[in-house]
């Protein structure tokens, strides 16, 4: 269920703005890769190129290659809609569908994939909510609005929605930045569990979080305002946080940045 991502020579643009420059990296399956770096360095932009969400912004485009095992996500015959069904995404702010019940939120992606049988939907929704560590809290109120849950619960609901369609890869864009420490812990526990099944990429501003949850860490930086973001280095998390190759990385993680 998990696939390897290989990125080579990737550039992303917003209209005339060059947002990220020449990024190449490999993301291993069944592992957690964390992206760290200062604001505006292109971490989120890069993350969004991995499921072709970057291009939904008007004027945005991508150059380069993203291979998911042996399939080029930017190949000429590839449908971005199909890519997004394979590479799931969780956003910074929990965004359940506001008018839908908890059940319907989780089932939304399944229905898009043509799953209609009630018994099958029931099974997958239960399995996904259990997978997102949310089942015990919501099993008695599946018909209630998803927007009525707490922020942390909503974020786990969004994770359940993303894993319900059994993606190959799960992208998380600062999934805990709008949450309190208890909810953050719940999500981090969940990430540790999910990495047994999925390839996970997480953007985070919290370096402790990166150190806690990830196997590998990539550090991004930006030379100055208006300059494109670059990948400085990617390595095992323990190495990045103890003995990074690059001086810029060391400055950033020890707080001497800028």
């Amino acid at each position: 269920m998990a696939k390897r991502i290989e990125v080579s020579g990737l550039h992303a643009y917003y209209g005339g703005t060059h947002a990220i420059e020449d990024i190449s990296m490999t993301v291993e399956p069944r592992s957690v890769t964390a992206f760290i770096g200062p604001s505006g360095c292109g971490k989120s932009t890069f993350l969004r190129t991995l499921n072709r969400m970057h291009e939904v912004i008007p004027g945005a485009r991508v150059e380069g290659k993203v291979m998911l095992d042996d399939e080029d996500l930017y190949g000429p015959s590839v449908d971005p809609v199909a890519v997004r069904r394979t590479v799931g995404m969780v956003f910074q702010r929990p965004n359940p569908f506001p008018t839908m019940s908890i059940f319907d939120n989780v089932a939304a992606g399944l229905k898009l994939n043509g799953v209609r049988r009630k018994s099958q939907l029931d099974d997958i929704v239960e399995e996904s909510l259990k997978g997102a560590n949310l089942w015990e809290e919501v099993k008695d109120r599946l018909g209630k609005p998803g927007a009525g849950l707490s922020g942390g619960q909503q974020q786990r609901l969004c994770i359940a929605r993303a894993i319900a369609v059994q993606p190959q890869v799960l992208l998380m864009d600062e999934p805990c930045s709008a949450l309190d420490p208890i909810s953050t812990l719940a999500i981090e526990d969940l990430i540790a569990k999910l990495k047994n099944q999925y390839t996970i990429v997480i953007v985070t501003h919290n370096m402790q979080q990166a150190a806690r949850v990830s196997d590998r860490t990539a550090f991004f930086n930006i030379a100055g305002t208006g300059k494109p973001g670059k990948l400085i280095e990617i390595d095992d998390t323990s190495k990045i946080f103890t003995n990074p190759e690059q001086k810029a990385t060391e400055d950033y993680i020890t707080g001497r940045f800028g």
Partner: protein, 326 residues
């Protein structure tokens, strides 16, 4: 609210000399406050004066009426004794407006969705402008177009509808024609299209980016994204827009007056010539009316006023309820 007053307090503190009263008390402020308050009161006073005038003029005619004003199908206020009731007018007004709404709403939603999500960005601005321009065309022009261009073509359409859907009472009848309530509805539909379409478009454009991306990231196509995120969010806004369109359709005068041929009585076969509405009836018969006839027309205008008011209040209630959710 609290931050607003906080800003006011801070601004006030900076401009206030020590020991002076709280209001800055400058002449400009007082003149502006007075002018604003005066304008507000003036509007209410004019509204009240119109209502009083209408009621005052209507009462003598209603007293002279020998038929039931609310249930009679006759409209003979100029005869002696005067006999008039609003049933025929209410029927024509409500049916033509409702039908216009049924025709216009799906088209308007389609236009709004196209402009908001499908058309290239350069095209969408111009397209929105053109649709809004439809609202600026004078209704007399719509009337002329309806009478001279649309009506001749509606003859054939009416006959086909009559043949195919004749089993539905509304589309039944023996002599489908071109100057019918149905033709008037089509003209009205085009007239209310811009208001429904532009409000719907605004609502659709306000759908939070997070909702849109939630659907797209799940692998929704554009249409699936619209179904999952846009339509649920915009539903009450679209309902409000349709109600405003309905209000406009019910009050429309001259275009309907030009298209319809007058025939007495209620005819449920809307493909047949004839029918009448409150506003069209007033426009057509006010000139030759006796004083009782004028009073009767004014009374019918009052009824239209009340119906339109109710529709508008319903629209506002729907739109306001949406604000609570968002």
């Amino acid at each position: 609210m609290s931050s607003q007053s906080g800003v006011d307090a801070a601004v006030g503190a900076r401009h206030r000399a020590p020991g002076r009263r709280l209001s800055t008390g400058q002449a400009g402020d007082r003149i502006f406050a007075g002018a604003a308050r005066g304008s507000g009161i003036l509007v209410l006073a004019i509204m009240a004066a119109i209502a009083v005038f209408l009621v005052w003029k209507a009462i003598p005619a209603l007293q002279a009426n020998k038929a039931n004003f609310l249930t009679s199908q006759d409209w003979n206020p100029n005869a002696t004794p005067a006999k008039f009731g609003i049933v025929q007018l209410a029927f024509g007004t409500v049916v033509s407006s409702a039908l216009a709404l049924i025709i216009a709403t799906p088209v308007a939603i389609g236009i709004a969705l196209f402009i908001a999500f499908y058309s290239p960005r350069k095209l969408s601005a111009g397209l929105g402008y053109v649709v809004d321009l439809l609202a600026a065309v004078p209704s007399i022009v719509y009337g002329l177009w309806g009478l001279l261009v649309l009506a001749p073509h509606m003859d054939g359409v009416s006959k086909i509808l009559n043949t195919v859907l004749g089993w539905i009472p509304f589309f039944g009848g023996d002599s489908p024609g071109k100057n019918s309530i149905f033709t008037a509805s089509v003209v009205l539909a085009i007239m209310i299209l811009p208001i429904i379409s532009s409000i719907s478009r605004e609502v659709f454009l306000q759908v939070p980016r997070a909702n849109v991306e939630a659907a797209l990231a799940l692998g929704a196509t554009r249409w699936e994204m619209i179904r999952l995120s846009v339509l649920p969010y915009g539903r009450s806004g679209v309902i409000g827009a349709s109600m405003l369109g309905l209000g406009r359709a019910m009050g429309e005068t001259i275009a309907v007056a030009m298209v319809l041929t007058f025939a007495p009585g209620v005819n449920v076969h809307i493909l047949e010539d004839g029918g009448n509405t409150f506003a069209a009836n007033i426009a057509k018969s006010f000139g030759e009316a006796t004083s009782t006839g004028r009073g009767a027309l004014i009374a019918s205008g009052l009824v239209l006023f009340v119906i339109t008011l109710v529709v508008n209040m319903a629209a506002r209630a729907v739109v306001a309820r949406r604000k609570e959710f968002v």
